[in-house]
Amino acid sequence: MATLHLLSHSPFSDSRFASCLRLLGPQDGLLLSGDAVYALQPGTAQLQALQLMPDSIAVYALDEDLQARHLPVPERALAVDYPAFVELCATYAKVNSWL
């Protein structure tokens, strides 16, 4: 039962990112929105942590949040729009938002 985890807090000022990464199952997915997209900032331990995860764990980022912040999309992540976000929620067995 793969879970899609949603993060929306900055990984620098908040512990949700680190806690979530420790909890991920090998088939889970991670969708970054809001300030959580800062985890894709080049040259950071946070991006490195994402890159070190097994490839079986997919990483997605909400496109509007990347654009607003002028952040590049690294190879490790796939930018998604709202329709794709909805379909991901349907594809994974359940969704866990780190409120």
Binding site: M1, T3, S19, R22, D28, K94, V95, L99
Partner: protein, 119 residues
């Protein structure tokens, strides 16, 4: 067959209403006989310390309400052992009978439930 719900409570007890409102979701679900689990993670583990005195902050007794969970049919109570050790609480007796889980067991726990709410 009812869908099962895991509630992950991550906030310290007196940080605001989150600890109490996470518990309210559990109690409401228990009252409807739904299959529920409650996991204490990160600062949420501070909710489990015994002998707290909420009256010093003019707050209601969260511990007493947590201890009512089995009466509402919510007995699947878990705590993240890493969250305890990070906070120096590994040897600390806790106010609730909770099962300690390491990181890999936590991942399996989430898998077992149909839905999750992380507050």
């Amino acid at each position: 067959m009812s869908k099962s719900l895991l509630i992950i409570s991550r906030q310290a007890p007196w940080a605001g209403p989150s600890a109490r409102e996470a518990l309210d979701i559990a109690l409401a679900g228990g009252a409807f006989d739904l299959p529920l689990g409650l996991l204490f993670l990160d600062d949420g583990v501070f909710q489990l310390l015994p002998e707290q005195q909420p009256s010093a902050l003019q707050q209601k007794d969260l511990t007493a309400n947590l201890q009512a969970l089995p009466m509402f049919g919510v007995e699947a109570l878990y705590v993240a052992s890493r969250s305890l050790s990070e906070r120096g609480l590994s040897e600390q007796p806790l106010a609730l009978p909770v099962e300690q889980l390491d990181d890999s067991a936590l991942s399996l726990l989430v898998d077992r439930y149909d839905q999750v709410i992380t507050i």
